[in-house]
């Protein structure tokens, strides 16, 4: 009772009355919460489990270090069998899938030899016989854009050594006409086959041959100080990965029977793809967030994911339940002649980066990204600051130099989103709406607002009655 600073939330006249007594007043710019959420907000706020539950969820998430321990086919590490397809986002049936997800599934079917011509795969998925769709998230995996994983695709394997938990992600194909954006022509399939024949096995040899497993969380720490936000900009991260893996790629690669040309091809492919590291950033984020799952009473979001039709979130205190709403179309810049009408609604598991506090949440550290919507550097700073309004913690490992090394805003709080109406800011690529087109642009997007009140209601319903 000796410090006389007052925080005033509500009527300005009371703040004025305090200020008139020459006392410092910090005024909250309070606005009514999302419509109809007051009762649920109060129920969740007074849930006696919540403060400790959120503290535990945050602590568990921040405590995870992701190490790169292996590269191997999905059939081996995920037990994925022929006809089983993983995809990005919440669960979805073929009939509701969007163009890019369809395109990727069709290409995937051809890659696995289920059909000779990808065009024939549509009938296969329609019939539903001998094929099944399942979210990556249900198999400890994440996939960018369409996120389609088939048994023969090679996966990064990340491990939390404290618990032995692992997460997985496919290898990044590059930009343009690629499967994850829904393209499935010969060029796409040829590249995927090379990735299965050369890239995957050589990376496996390199990872297994690298004495000290690469600390992916540590690379994220460094790249955030080098202009990457690890969602739409992964240049520094990609180069640091190359630095770590190149020696073993050369030595272990030749032991494994790869010649100099193969190694050169791989180095060129990785070095030429600024987004290569994204597929390590994502499973590192998932590994951390999965540690925060299933804490009863916690309001922390543990996954944000889109399948091109629905945007879904999962919350620590509500188990595996998905809260979904229609995915939005990003605002941003388009390649060539493409325009907003060509873009598919938001797609991909890559919003796991924002869920973990990087990507759009770390915009301040990658000011170039803000230009995707014609913004300015102050906008980038404001975005990161704004995300602190809806998060539970700051990540001390992931700091932003320009904000005085403040940690990135981490652990989205469903309650705070409903209270402030501030939606998580996501940086994203845009896929063409038509199967086969590929990438049409990149930009910024937010989740549909209504999924947060839905999650809040589920949290409120689980509050134990006194």
């Amino acid at each position: 009772m000796t410090d006389t600073t007052i925080v005033s939330v509500g009527a300005d006249m009371f703040a004025d009355a305090v200020a008139a007594q020459a006392v410092d007043v910090e005024r909250v710019d309070w606005r009514p919460p999302m419509p109809g959420t007051e009762t649920d907000l109060a129920a969740v706020a007074t849930d006696p489990r919540r403060p400790e539950a959120n503290r535990r969820a945050v602590e568990a998430m921040l405590g995870v270090t992701a190490h790169l321990v292996d590269v191997a086919p999905a059939s081996e590490v995920l037990g994925l069998e022929k006809g089983q397809f993983l995809h990005a986002g919440p669960p979805i049936e073929w009939a509701r899938t969007s163009g890019p997800l369809r395109g990727a599934l069709m290409g995937g079917a051809a890659l696995e030899g289920l059909v000779d011509d990808p065009e024939d795969a549509a009938a296969l998925f329609e019939s539903g016989s001998n094929v099944s769709l399942e979210p990556c998230h249900h198999r400890s995996a994440v996939g960018p854009m369409a996120g389609v994983v088939t048994p023969s695709m090679w996966m990064w394997v990340l491990e939390d050594r404290a618990t032995g938990r692992r997460t997985y992600c496919s290898l990044n194909e590059g930009l343009g006409k690629v499967l994850r954006y829904g393209a499935y022509n010969d060029e796409v399939l040829t590249r995927l086959r090379w990735m299965g024949d050369v890239l995957g096995p050589l990376l496996q040899a390199a990872v297994r041959g690298t004495e000290e497993a690469t600390d992916v969380t540590g690379i994220l720490t460094q790249m955030l100080q080098m202009g990457d936000e690890a969602h739409n900009r992964n240049r520094a991260g990609t180069l640091m990965l190359l630095r770590d893996l190149s020696p073993a790629m050369v030595s272990a690669g030749s032991d494994a029977g790869f010649d100099g040309k193969d190694v050169a091809d791989v180095l060129r492919f990785v070095g030429g793809n600024d987004h290569f590291f994204l597929n390590l950033a994502m499973p590192a984020c998932k590994l951390a967030l999965d540690a925060g799952r299933d804490v009863p009473g916690s309001t922390m979001v543990v996954a944000m994911a889109r399948n091109g039709t629905d945007f879904g979130i999962q919350v620590s205190g509500t188990g595996d339940e998905w809260f979904t709403g229609p995915a939005q179309v990003a605002e941003g810049l388009f390649l060539g002649d493409y325009g907003p009408d060509d873009a598919n609604p938001d797609i991909g598991d890559s919003a796991i980066t924002e869920t973990a506090g990087i990507g759009g949440f770390a915009m301040a550290t990658a000011p170039a990204i803000v230009r995707l919507v014609g913004g300015s550097v102050p906008d980038a700073l404001a975005t990161t600051r704004r995300m602190h309004e809806i998060t539970l913690a700051e990540n001390p490992r992931w700091s932003v130099p320009v904000l005085e090394f403040q940690g990135t805003p981490t652990g989205i709080d469903v309650s705070k989103v409903c209270r402030t109406g501030i939606l998580p800011q996501i940086n994203t690529g845009m896929a063409g709406a038509v199967a086969g087109v590929g990438q049409v642009g990149a930009g910024l997007v937010t989740p549909p607002a209504e999924i947060f009140p839905k999650a809040l209601a589920a949290l409120a319903a689980r509050v134990p009655t006194a």
Partner: protein, 502 residues
Amino acid sequence: MTTPLTTDHVELRSGAYADSVTLLQVSRSVQATPGVVTAQVAMATGLNLEVLEGMGFTVPASSPNDMVVALRLEEGADAAQALAAVDAALAPTRPTSGDTTVAPPRTTTAALRRTGAGAVALVSVPGASATVEAMDALEAGHDVMAFSDNVPVAEEVALKTYAASRGALVMGPDCGTAVIDGVGLGFANTVRPGRIGLVAASGTGCQQLLALLHHAGASLDGVGVRHALGVGGRDLSAAVGGLATREALRRLDADPDVDLVVVVSKPPAPDVADALARESDALGTPVELGLLGRGQRDLTAVAEAVLARLGHEAPAWPVHGADNTGPATGPLLRGLFVGGTLCDESMLMATDVLGPVRSNIPLSEELALGDELLVDDHTFVDFGDDALTQGRAHPMIDPTLRNEQLARAAADPATGVILLDLVLGHGAEPDPAALLAPEIVAARRERPVPVVVSLVGTDLDPQGLEAQRDALVAAGAEVHLSNASATRRALELISRSEGAAR
């Protein structure tokens, strides 16, 4: 893709570089230039060459480190103008101002990240959202004063139970007044500092004590208030059980600069009052309990007991404008209050003299007033009650409702005396007497209904006690500093009137 009506202009710029995001933006802005059909400015990477080709452009041999400027112009359009637009868009821009203003915080949590450890949160949002903001403060280890009313009692219990586990104090909800280290929160009077600590489950009850002790302190050494900790009007109810009162007592007992603690409250639940009495006895600091109720002391008597404990005799409580007052003009007493505790106090005193009285905050259920607020009986209305403040400001800020009722009461021939309160201090109207005085004049125009006012305030309040008092006296009111004294005067006038014996 090229139509006869357009011409393409493609040039390579070696050594020029901009990142792809910038270039997408440049392309977009050049596309908006008059005469430009489409434009693509990009580094000559494989992917971009493919895009350019897809757009129908023919690009000369290039390396990925070249920048390609590809323009498709309307027939006759000036290529130089379009290229100037490219240059302008590529030129680095600087923000015109060094604007790095940080947006204001949107939640109490965010605001408390910007303040020191001892900050107190003052919550006055609508009741449905108050608990959420208050929890923010408690979770961060800060005390809360919640002015907001219409907060469900279950939420109040939850807040105070959590606060107790953290050693934090919840003043409220529906806490009108607090003074912390001399800083007034909500509706609070400016008082001389001293060594008395107040705990108040009553906003206007607290203000009455502040005003009386301040008046007495003008001529007595060592009489002043160090802290006045509100706890909310329901704190001593059976449901809440005095959770905040207990924490407030603990704080004041531990404060070496507090010699005497005074607890004031609206009528408490008997069990809670008994427990409070036992716990108070166990404290090291003496506690004076001023709990209103049938057969209990009024607030002025409590102030006098406090002075006696400090070895002083109470002064005569000031009265002005007694000459204005003639006999009661009818058999019924009309109490119209903005302060709930002042209303309670007057009702308790009136019941002793007149028998049961009717109210919107009745002493027992069968005495409840309906929406009409005026019946053929003695009536006491608290305009600060939750039911009358839903969707409007507190009557200390917006006196419209009370003024209307004042006119109705004056027009009722059965009305014998009108008893009012007026509360000064931070948060209240800047000149409340100016709003009330004309209503008093109007009320007395037809017949001289005695209007007795308890004016609660101090000479240090922003409105100035004297000026307010003089305005009311000039309007025809009789003005008391003590609500008990004003009530006693009103009861005496009614009792003397012919119809008083019902």
